[in-house]
Symmetry: C2
Subunit: 109 residues, 2 copies
């Protein structure tokens, strides 16, 4: 299983419209990417201050898509890349960091 | 639900023993932290090159713990902090990045 993480670094001076991201951008992204048979799940997260230091989070927002393979993600994403990327300026000017990973251990209570 | 992400940046010149991390360190961490009633799950991941650019991953390894609250994570972690942190030099000299987030959308196929 492959996880594709799209993470927006906390950047002083740049804003991030978390409401638009959670209520408009991510539902649109999930609707499009989840149509691919390689889609297995998604998590969308809001960065919060560290509980002890109170320091701001490294990332203000993150999403993680689970796909069977990186090729499946690319195949799911490419037909919608232009539309999804064109929507980014509607919520931020922060350039996202993209991480590809393989899931080695997964456990839930 | 809170996610605590511990992420090791790819750092030229510094090694990361992924086998030790996956086979020894993370099982020990999961064994200890999952005993807390606030534990809900964990994912452990290996960073891989981006499929199209071939660039190395931003993070060589990541783990994500799900807990009911940040306070629950702190309560679960603190009794084991010294032992777990003392084990880090056994697999890397890379300083991890720690991110606290709230899970806003979670969906699985």
């Amino acid at each position: 299983m492959v996880k594709v993480s799209i993470m927006y670094p906390h950047t002083p001076g740049l804003t991030f419209d978390i409401d638009y991201y959670l209520q408009t951008h991510m539902p649109m992204s999930i609707d499009r990417l989840s149509a691919h048979p390689g889609f297995h799940g998604v998590s969308v997260e809001r960065g919060v201050a560290a509980p002890q230091s109170g320091l701001p989070p490294v990332y203000v927002a993150l999403c993680h898509f689970l796909f069977t393979s990186a090729d499946d993600f690319v195949a799911a994403f490419m037909p919608h890349a232009a539309a999804l990327q064109a929507d980014i300026p509607n919520y931020t000017a922060i350039a996202p960091v993209v991480q590809f990973s393989t899931v080695e251990i997964a456990q839930a209570r």
